[in-house]
Symmetry: C2
């Protein structure tokens, strides 16, 4: 079979708030081949990823992503890898292409799994998907009191692990940050896993990060995530050297395998966090998971959107029993929640697992897609390159 159609659906909440919540819009990808439909999702900035799919060619190494995808043979996992390699070569100078490819890669895996009547994890050689411990991923409150209540609430919902991040953290005084972290620990109780996400707020400033280590240790924080931007390896290394027992986590900014490998090799992180919606899809994320394992670094998904993206993000480390913790968006906006009819719900032990249905195992709610669909159009030289398609 060949890829007959690739369509992008830009969904959004009616109002997008200026907060660190990545679940406020969705770029859904639909691929059709041989009468079968596959679905995927690209992380962040739907319009720009759509533009990179349809943009006119600038030169031989700066082609629209479309040129490497539409009409391609899609019969095997090897075809998916080949198409990804073609996108990377033909769109070498198109920076956004990795995000666009990510959703396409997921949709190809979903489609091929449905064709072969196999879950994607099985196609990647996994015998049974290991249960993962979901951590409730959410934003710090505007005040420590709000954070306390949020932490109590996730504990009451049965989570044994939670991450707080963004919001005011790292932008004010050490005392303010201490109050926030202590509130999170108090609300979760002494036995829960507490993770803190600084959201790159200190760029590369080791000293200001160092001032927060004491409170992180006192609150028995397992990891400090993204104290710095992804590239600031020297700052990561310096902080990692004195942070124990707190471990550094990072990597969500990686948009190709190389960047994630370099971070594993040179940034002193103990957890590498990969967003399958950015790094080029399941194919690339799985390569990072293997590399991380070989280097003794724990692989974790980065997911702050829908359960379609969550399902795809769990596949790369589905077979790795020791890398048990996983990001779980506990309070996504309705556009992300409503995208799928089914969800990866926690079992009686509070764990989540991939299901054993073909492909990515998720049902897209096309009524919901219609409800949140954003009307968009791109014209160049009098020609319509993109118009919101029918669903």
């Amino acid at each position: 079979m060949r890829i007959d159609e690739v369509d992008f659906f830009y969904l959004s909440m009616p109002e997008v708030l200026d907060i660190g919540d990545g679940s406020q819009d969705v770029l859904l990808v639909r691929i059709r081949a041989g009468g079968i439909t596959g679905w995927g999702e690209c992380e962040a900035s739907p319009l720009v990823s759509i533009a990179s799919y349809v943009t006119p060619m600038s030169h031989s190494a700066c082609k629209p992503v479309r040129d490497s995808v539409l009409g391609q043979r899609l019969e095997s996992a090897g075809d998916i890898l080949r198409i990804g390699n073609e996108v990377r070569a033909n769109s070498l100078d198109l920076l956004q292409a990795d995000h666009t490819l990510s959703g396409i890669d997921m949709a190809m895996w979903d489609l091929l799994g449905k064709r072969q009547q196999q879950p994607v994890w099985a196609m990647l050689g996994v015998k049974h998907p290991e249960p993962k411990q979901p951590y409730a991923s959410q934003l710090f409150g505007d005040t420590a009191q709000e954070t306390l209540e949020a932490a109590k609430s996730v504990r009451a919902e049965g989570y044994h692990a939670a991450k707080f991040g963004w919001g005011p953290f790292g932008r004010g005084s050490v005392e303010d940050d201490s109050a926030q972290v202590e509130a999170a620990r108090e609300g979760l109780g002494p036995d829960a896993i507490l993770l803190v996400d600084a959201g790159t707020v200190w760029i590369d400033d080791v000293e200001v990060a160092r001032q927060r280590l004491d409170v992180l240790r006192r609150a028995q924080v397992t990891w400090l995530e993204e104290p710095f931007v992804s590239g600031a390896f020297a700052s990561y290394r310096a902080l990692a050297a004195e942070a124990a027992p707190v471990v550094l986590a990072g990597g969500e900014g990686s948009h190709n395998v190389w960047q994630a490998q370099h971070m594993i090799d040179h940034a002193g992180i103990g957890f590498v966090q990969i967003d399958a919606g950015r790094i080029g899809g399941i194919s690339q994320a799985a390569a990072v998971a293997q590399y991380a394992m070989s280097r003794g670094v724990t692989y974790v998904n980065h997911t702050f959107t829908s359960h379609l993206a969550l399902s795809a993000s769990l596949v790369p480390f589905a077979g790795m029993a020791e890398d048990v913790i996983c990001e779980y968006p506990v309070a996504p906006k309705s556009v992300a929640r409503d995208l799928t009819r089914n969800h990866l719900e926690r079992d009686a032990d509070g764990m989540i697992s991939l299901n054993d249905r073909p492909g990515l195992g998720m049902d897209i709610d096309t009524d919901a897609v219609r409800r949140y669909l954003v009307d968009a159009e791109i014209r160049v030289g009098g020609e319509v390159l993109y118009r919101t398609p029918e669903i």
Copy 2:
């Protein structure tokens, strides 16, 4: 003064060919503040960079580039750096943003230079711009005979250095590549500097690259550029260790300072090639130039477009007398050539120098802009986010 207007002009040849020639389209940026106009240029895929300027916000760290630029105070070099930092923080998850920022950064420097009646190089502390030796940058011919003629032609035009790249090189047999490289050397004569650009064709395959080392040595090639993709550090290091006296060059794919630094530190390159139109502009390119100098790596511009981009690309190493070689697009398409009324022409010694006029010292030919202007429009939710502006 404050930034009152930022406009993007997408220019293109009537037909864009499927060849490795980056001069076939242009994304020109015009910024107005305090009644003064500054100009800059973004590398590659104009539509996608325009989209990243106007795209709706996805969340607090995925805002359109516009939100960090329009209305900003612009009085000093510090303001330019601050605006760049804001773009990187506010558009952290918008991959294309670095390309978009690049042209904006150039235009801000141009504008501020005109305001202060100083060349940009002087604003960066350079006493007088060092003359650079231009290498004629061009594509391999489809046959060795075509390459021979092209090499003879650039030699006849007085160039003492030339680079051949892309085209069939690296895609066929070792014998084919040998014939191409030997033809280039024969055409240039024994005393000229010959550079070869593999255009990432071998991805990360050291063995296939290694097979070409003998002919490169025999032809006294100074550097082999981009044998691999930017991230393949281990492959770069392995090849570098056995390539002498041929030296590896790379880095044009860097879209932030960190990536260029990592390549300098870990890839064994002797020349780092930076495109100011991709890495975030003159500000970021200058930081790489300083870092390269501290590590004993030679800085070279990457420029395959207009003389506006060339002027901006020379600023970062304008004061570095030892880093003398510079990329010079010898046969750009007319859209790139016609963009400016003046050009950085070779002097009697065959060298080029930045001029001493305020800003970037280039006059935009607005008639030419109108001639090549592409009509484009982006609509989201019934609102026109971009429409080709008046020039």
